[in-house]
């Protein structure tokens, strides 16, 4: 089979989304890509379809997770070589699938895996490759306006690309919002493709999950952050305990760092780090503009403070007017009690 570009047929343009998995779990980013793909497909009167690579064992759980959000047709490739990521297996699988499906566009996450094998796929098929895209819009004359981010986000490069020439676009997390879960369970068509998948040349030895305690706060999914209101260095134990219970990392405002309560690596704000976790719990932080600049793009912001006038309440999704020393330990206990209840149930 050769890889000729799609002939100008009356068939509506096809936008494929690669649903990426990391260690047997779907990446949230895949849903963000789906949202972007839907938007683009709507503007070119195209259709969206989803690609999933899985093994026999993981098939059911991954499909279930996918079906919560996806109403589009799903292309499934099931093979034992997908038990772990390898450049060779993913490349060979996607190359064959793209030859069958002949899409106009393929959306992929600009993740370590995505950036590892997508260039090789593009090379084998002679597709165009647009790394680290921001968004793609339709321009006139069946052409796409593709914006690529370079120079550490300081430059945008725009390209006019014909929709008829197939292309792979990779995108980083946070470019689009993930669509909400479908209310009525959709029942999309699931097509299984039996393909010959190459074996990987690189052997996986060990998976090393992140330790929230030592994780760089810019990579953390959840942050528990404290400020001057915590009172002293010893009181940060309250926040640490909550962070451990939540599986979150500890962060701090400049005030707490300057007082020597928390190390500088954990400082959020203009003179520290800019973070975008899914959850940011700010305790005892008043929210000077320098701090807000570093965290206001977090997914959900929870505030615990005794001062109703504190500016941090202006960015909060959920605020608690109260003393963190009273509220947080109770919350920690509540979460731990919940975990204990859950453990015997799952061990059955």
């Amino acid at each position: 089979m050769n890889s000729l570009p799609v002939s100008p047929s009356p068939a509506p343009p096809l936008v494929l989304v690669f649903a990426e998995t990391l260690w047997g779990k779907l990446e949230r980013l895949s849903f963000e890509l789906l949202a972007d793909a839907r938007k683009l497909a709507a503007s070119v009167k195209g259709r969206v379809e989803v690609v999933l690579f899985t093994t026999q064992e993981q098939r059911a759980s991954l499909l279930e997770e996918l079906l919560a959000h996806v109403r589009e047709p799903i292309h499934l490739v099931e093979h034992e070589n997908f038990a772990e990521y390898s450049t060779e297996s993913y490349t060979s699988g996607l190359v064959q699938l793209l030859q069958v499906l002949q899409p106009n566009l393929l959306f992929l996450g600009a993740t370590t895996y995505g950036r590892d094998f997508a260039p090789r796929v593009a090379a084998r098929l002679g597709y165009a490759y647009f790394p680290h895209c921001l968004l793609s819009k339709t321009a006139t004359g069946g052409k796409l306006d593709i914006t690529r981010v370079t120079h550490g986000g300081r430059v945008h490069i725009q390209t006019n690309w014909p929709l008829a020439a197939p292309a792979i676009l990779t995108m980083k997390a946070g470019v689009a919002d993930a669509p909400a879960a479908e209310k009525t369970p959709p029942n999309p068509q699931v097509t299984s493709h039996a393909l010959k998948i190459a074996a990987g040349k690189v052997r996986l030895k060990k998976r090393i999950p992140p330790d929230p305690r030592t994780l760089d706060i810019r990579q953390a999914e959840k942050l528990v952050s404290g400020g001057r209101g915590v009172g002293n260095k010893e009181n940060f134990a309250v926040l640490r305990a909550l962070a451990d219970a939540l599986g979150a990392s500890l962060a701090a405002s400049r005030a707490a760092v300057d007082l020597g309560w928390v190390e500088y690596e954990r400082q959020v704000g203009q003179t520290g780090k800019t973070v975008t976790p899914r959850l940011y719990l700010a305790a005892g932080i008043s929210g000077a503009s320098h701090h807000l600049m570093g965290m206001r793009d977090a997914g959900k912001i929870v505030v615990v403070n005794t001062d109703r006038q504190a500016p941090i309440f202006s960015v909060a999704h959920f605020g608690v007017l109260g003393d963190l020393h009273a509220v947080l330990p109770r919350l920690t206990e509540r979460i731990q009690a919940d975990k204990k209840k859950a453990t015997p149930a799952t061990s059955k």
């Binding site: 094998f117 165009a128 790394p131 690529r148 981010v149 430059v155 725009q158 109770r330």
Partner: protein, 297 residues
Amino acid sequence: MKVLHTTPFKIAVCLKEVLDARLPLKVEAKTGAIQQDAPEPVVTLNPADRSALEFAMQLREQSPGSRVEVFSVSDVAGQAALWYGLARGADDAERIEGSGKGAPYTAALLATRFHKETFDLICCGDETLDNSSALVGPLLAEILDLPQVTGVVRIVECSKSSILVERGLERGSRELVEMDLPGLITLKAESVPWRYVSYQKLEEAQLRNIPVRRETLPTSSNGLPKWPEQATPTAPRARVKKSFTPDSKMSPADRVRMIMAGGAAPQESKSKSSVVEGDAEYVSEQLYRFLKHHEFV
């Protein structure tokens, strides 16, 4: 890093000199030229490439007899990267010239060079500071039909036949993987601590004559992704997430507070958010429910 059976390695390191994008940049509106706000452009060796170079040098230190050669696809003006490589102690440097622009051509030119001479290990940077396509490493491996590990953050062990490395994944997860040699790895910036190069060494390196090799690419572009020739750089425009007009009924103090909050619109967020108060038992339960509702616990 542990080196087993100290056998000599032959290592190639690919380097690129880049405009330091960590400093302010501006995009010329008419020509689309990307410039620095300075009389002279501030260039640097790409940070990820520096990690690759540093790793290669450390490997050579631990296995005597090894050779490190540095390569760069660039014009004369861009050869400072090679000078740096030589100053850091690379045995040889070579500049490669060729037609075509863009990451796929860079990979193809390097590949034609590596077709003529086999290396045990090719080390590249994970991505460049300027173009950030992260394309050269995987493409080079594809053309040379080599195994690859991209996004390496730590090298654990090295033997003549294989290399054990940790690759960085999403949100701080890592994976320990083993790859047979010959192979290609790309290293992330900051993954290997750098050593400084003395000024004297740098001056000595600049006096060395760096050989140039002109490579010609096979005329058909088969085996390469298409790379758009026509591209317009622009300065990123601030994306407006929401705009608001200050409520004239608000007191000046409130308006100031709103500005202090970094432009967050309090009218909107107040309606969305809820603030609970009461005794600690009650509010912590409410807080727990909020976290539960959004699946954080």
